[in-house]
Symmetry: C2
Subunit: 763 residues, 2 copies
């Protein structure tokens, strides 16, 4: 039945995720499960040096090993670098003359099984000339440091430098100025599904790559770039993607190039599956940041000026780093009204595994810094941390000096609601010893147009049983677009979500799409799906209007029926109308639609422009208890109020909010990659790399959605999920600080640091 208030039948209801059942029963086939006739198995040879020149590779012994069918090196490729942005194309399919981190791919073997492939790897002889390596970004920026790329002085991979307003004047006008440095660590997505691909290069030079990709069209484009072929020569077939990839399966990887090239050499399909050790060794990691933040406020706590200097440790490749270094500054400007601001951000190459996108993509890091400093300022001013945030919070219609145009905005309401839910006023400053409460708030984006090709598109066909086969360019990586996009189509056509199928991407078939990043899928692909559904509805409506002899606008599509407004007698099954169109009118009903947000392309080296067509807001309160004996932090409760527009499927939004929170408990308290001084990573298994598990989940999580429909989002939706990752580090850190009375400006807040703080106090 339709919701009384909204008139919506499908939207807003908690439909379970479409693939939930086949995933929990184990029936769902992931890339690693796939078997192709005649398939060989490939493995990658990786550099044992953090930085070295390749003097020569002798593959002859490996090639002679029975069972080994082909061996390739970087020389088998045309030598074209690939990447995301014009100035940061520094990936090679396989290393050519140099390796830049331990784990970089230098050769690959295809053999009859994995064991033989490993044996083949052992027989490849690479002559290296070790080079001086550099691991710290600040050290890497210094004159005289070894350069990773000759054309990148000071190892700066990308930078973003901008200023709006008059920062100096702002500081002059400030009553209180604080400046602190915050540091965050490298972490890994911790996806349970390792990267897997099957490559096939046929006699007509058509190349097929079947792989678990988050943004198949991004990988498609990169694969074409590195192979030196037009993208249409490549058929990218997406498999189900294991949840938790969270930005880690965006790009074409050396394994993808190796699989197709080994296939070209052997004439057989080649499958390559990474081990978890390879995943944790290789990349993409979350960027570690060192952020120096200077914040000036007036007596009321209103922000006068903000200056940020950030250095990101990018590792050996650029990946999406040109965006990452801008993002710190973008998220810095997304929650509060900041009249004067300056940013200088540098992403630096180091001889470590490379960093890229990870759930929240730089928002958690800057939020950790800014929200920490906000707390310190509030403390110094004697203000309530919630109050200072509310005072500075963005409001609907606000236009930020950097160009952000705020439309709907419920940040103040979110802060109020978080206060109420958490019992903030009863708890703040009144909790027992070693118990603390902290708050953090954030703004987030509902997608962006940062890439050249950013529109999302959808095609659909309406079937004779009244169902719809939807093809979206969007990829479900666990976030739920396999369910939400069908819901949108169902709402438009007056049918049920079960009536709409959702297909995996196949670049030969499914429509173009910008990709699954920047929390854009519901907003962009949702609008595209809606338009495709409206397109089909128009075609059906024309026929129905003819049948009923009424105007199209007098038709109602609802409950799998098409009927005439104010004349309930005139009605027919939706399915019957489709069959009427097919069988009597000789029509087939197909809809198409695409959507690109009306925000223009962003110049993120200058930091100017409206990043997103809609911004979402979060306020999170966290309550912790610290064990003074062990230093262990127990997260008792988390409360989150958010403005994500209308929640299209509250069950899935809830899952995303909880997931984003739990994932970041790890970064806040214990998760990190541990390396030695030579660049070796120590913890390359999930036994040693500590991710949050059941026992680390907050004692309770209470969520509240403000449900403010956004005019641009499909059925009023905005981003809802990824943004929830942003305040977690800060709300936990602020709560721990409240509990032990010491600021923590470096992550993770491991028990040793907590104990140190407690002992420092008690001493």
């Amino acid at each position: 039945m339709a919701d009384q208030a909204t008139g919506l039948n499908v939207i807003g209801k908690p439909y379970p995720k479409k693939d939930a059942r086949i995933k929990v029963t184990g029936e769902c086939k992931f890339a690693a499960d796939l078997v192709v006739p005649g398939m060989l198995h490939g493995k990658m040879l990786r550099s044992p040096h953090a930085h070295a020149r390749i003097l020569g590779i002798d593959t002859s012994r490996a090639e002679r090993l029975p069972g080994v069918k082909a061996v390739i090196t970087g020389k088998d490729f045309p030598g074209i670098t690939y990447g995301n942005f014009i100035h940061t194309r520094d990936y090679l399919p396989l290393a050519l003359d140099r390796v830049r981190y331990i784990g970089e791919e230098v050769a690959a073997v295809a053999a009859i099984d994995e064991d033989m492939a490993y044996e083949g790897l052992d027989l490849i002889e690479v002559e290296y000339e070790p080079l001086r390596a550099v691991f710290g970004p600040e050290e890497a920026m210094k004159e005289g440091a070894p350069l990773l790329y000759d054309d990148k002085p000071n190892n700066i991979s990308s930078k973003s430098e901008w200023a709006f307003g008059d920062v100096e004047k702002g500081f002059e006008a400030s009553y209180l100025i604080k400046e602190e440095t915050f540091e965050t660590q490298a972490i890994k997505h911790g996806m349970l599904e390792t990267h897997t691909c099957i490559g096939y290069w046929d006699a007509t030079d058509r190349i097929t790559l079947e792989a678990c990709k988050q943004s198949p069209y991004t990988a498609w484009r990169q694969l074409a770039m590195g192979l030196g072929v037009p993208p249409s020569k490549i058929r990218m077939k997406q498999t189900f993607v294991g949840a938790g990839n969270s930005g880690g399966k965006q790009e074409a990887l050396p394994m993808d190039f190796a699989a197709v090239m080994l296939s070209k050499k052997t004439g057989r399909p080649v499958k390559i599956s990474h081990t978890m050790e390879e995943v944790l060794l290789m990349g993409h990691m979350r960027h570690p940041y060192k952020i120096r933040l200077k914040l000036g406020v007036d007596k009321e706590g209103l922000i006068q000026a903000l200056d940020c200097f950030a250095i990101a440790d990018g590792g050996a490749h650029s990946s999406i780093g040109q965006l990452s270094i801008y993002l710190i500054s973008a998220f810095m400007m997304m929650a509060y009204k900041i009249p004067n601001a300056r940013y200088r951000g540098y992403r630096v190459y180091t001889n470590k595994s490379f960093c890229g996108a990870l759930r929240g993509h730089c928002a958690p890091q800057i939020n950790f810094a800014l929200e920490g400093l906000m707390d310190e300022i509030a403390q110094e001013l004697g203000m309530d941390p919630l109050d200072i945030r509310k005072r500075n919070a963005m409001t609907p219609g606000y236009e930020a000096p950097n160009g952000f145009k705020i439309t709907t905005c419920g940040l103040r309401e979110a802060l109020d609601k978080a206060r109420e839910m958490s019992g903030w006023d009863e708890k703040r400053g009144k909790l027992p010893k070693y118990r603390g409460i902290g708050v953090a708030s954030t703004g987030f984006i509902s997608g962006s147009n940062i890439m050249g090709m950013s529109a999302c598109s959808a095609m659909l066909k309406v079937l004779e049983d009244g169902t719809v086969a939807l093809q979206s360019g969007a990829t479900d990586v666990g976030q739920g677009c396999d369910t939400v996009l069908p819901m949108i189509v169902a709402e438009v056509l007056g049918i049920e979500p079960d009536d709409v199928s959702f297909a995996l991407i196949d670049s030969d078939l499914t429509p173009m799409d910008g990709g699954t990043w920047s929390s854009r899928v519901t907003f962009y692909a949702g609008n595209a799906a809606k338009m495709a559904a409206l397109d089909a509805k128009r075609q059906l409506g024309r026929v129905a209007a003819e049948v009923f002899d009424v105007k199209e606008e007098d038709l109602i599509f609802k409950h799998r029926q098409v009927s005439v407004k104010n004349d309930p007698e005139q009605s027919m099954d939706f399915a019957r109308l489709v069959r009427y169109c097919q069988n009597r009118k000789g029509m087939t009903i197909m809809g198409r639609g695409y959507y690109n947000a009306p925000v223009g392309n962003l110049d993120f080296s200058k930091g100017t422009g409206n990043f997103s067509a809609a911004y979402s807001y979060y306020a999170q309160v966290c309550e912790v208890e610290v064990d003074p004996e062990t230093g262990l932090v127990d997260i008792c409760n988390m409360w989150m109020a958010h403005d994500g527009g209308r929640e299209l499927n509250p069950m899935l939004v809830r899952g995303q909010l909880i997931g984003s929170t739990v994932m970041h408990v790890g970064q806040a308290l214990f998760e990190q990659l541990i390396r030695d001084e030579k660049g070796n990573t120590f913890n390359t298994s999930f036994r040693d790399y500590k991710m949050p598990t059941f026992k680390d989940i907050p004692g309770s999580q209470e969520l509240f959605s403000l449900e403010i429909p956004d005019p641009e989002g499909p059925f009023g939706a905005k981003e809802a999920g990824e943004g929830a990752s942003a305040p977690v580090l800060a709300s936990i850190a602020n709560a721990v600080s409240d509990a032990v009375g010491t600021r923590f400006r470096r992550l993770p807040i491991i028990p040793e640091e907590v104990l140190k703080a407690i002992k420092g106090k008690s001493r």
Copy 2:
């Protein structure tokens, strides 16, 4: 470069078939090559009785056999019959209480490999009560004959009875009347690829069938019908289809039902692949016909009246028979102006493997009869056989009494051309002894709207490298739509056929389609693809017009360029325009189109209506030499002139014309299924079932296309290929008759018959 006369760049050129290379290299994966993780192998238990009641089936021993994972019988299905037309749904997924021919499926086993599945079959115990069987259609029609279906009196499976004009009056007005009976035999398509499918039924009750199907949507619908589920629950994935299927892979088969049901029972994918023995045992066969034809002509040889009485031996199921029995009469009316005609056609059930569609679908049979009788009449009138045909030939604009509306028609020109090419006038009556020459002509259809859903549709997306990913609902079964449809798209958009990809059908993705039958693909799917391309061109044109500041109609899309008419300076790469749309305008270019011929639905029980939107015409001359010692017929030369509209790809049309001819050499001279009196088929291997091979190919084949563009066909095309099958039986039979001086009215014309005729003469 564009053709001077037509202005066309792509159309009319001999592009090789897109899949030719991967097929000849063996890289192309057919259904039998596919492997799916966890897959089981299924086998079918078949009835040893031509007609029997099933008293019971004991599967318990089979089920207990280790390695056997499931056994199913007809009781595992909901008991719903399925089929093509409302009144002829007589298929069951597996037999329930009765079997009606030797080879009918009664149970199926899924096991870990094929051997285990066969062992499982051996352990199934079926208790049969044999029933009286009937094998001859005339016997089956008699009162007291055993009925195959209780609701089908006289075993009549379907009938078509109609009359136009006044037949009696026509005969009264005739100068010469001849009445003869012609008989044709059962043959099998002789596809080299046997039927194969992989079925999968998942926990969400989504059913996937991957199979080699000629009309995937027909099989999709039938599978849904027999399983009692909505079609959208089924995902039909088409594999490459081995050439030569020629109508034999249209429908859902018991193996398809068995595969999905065995999967439901086991939770694992199940693959079933027929042996060639099963293919030759089971069906669909070509309908054997007994045709009594009475033809009256005036002194000039002009047809006054035609009366046809036909009995088709349909075997144990209806298949597409309701259409088949009409088709005889339709093709009878398709070449000549026949003012008065009557038809009574009966398709009869017998306890043999069932008959269905096969290249030419009833046209060769009626053509054999009518063209034979025409020759006899000509002989009696002392007229040249080519002359009598030309006199009666249809002409452009002719409207037949049964409703056929002739638009373009080059039959007279084809007859003239065949006369010229073959040197007819120098040969007819002037050849040495035992050498003969014969002619036959025919009309054919360019698709029809006989099924409920008959439109073809296409979707396409234009990619950033200036290529197009085309999705058509059409299936390539060797006829070449994988190449011709991309050619059509390329012509519209001014790009090259290599720039357009063509995808296999996947019912979750590719657009709806009526199916691959009635020679409709180029005409219907071609028009749909053209419309989709025009749709995309409009979108691109709007942007280009804006860029160049001109009107859309002033743009030229040619040679991968978009330029302004009369202003060669203003021009940009097609690919650049696409990227401009994508990256600057945020568009994605998608086109859609569907086409249904403007001919209405045909009522083929009454025989009224315009069957096709365009008719194609063929005239074929055959020259043979008969060995008087052995009776062997050597086909020396074949000449064919045809009006198939504009040939879109002459190389592929040539392949089709030659293929249709060679295939029917078999039916004319030696091919047949041989059965004993109990209904056992003797020749169920290609060693025993004689198909034409290289040594049977005519000594030469000369082809000529009249190239009369049709206004309704895409770029002027009409049917070109299947129709060539129609005159072959008759042109050969007429040539053999000419060589030995005796009429042959029964096929095949085996050496024994030829020798008998020669000896009868010389006696």
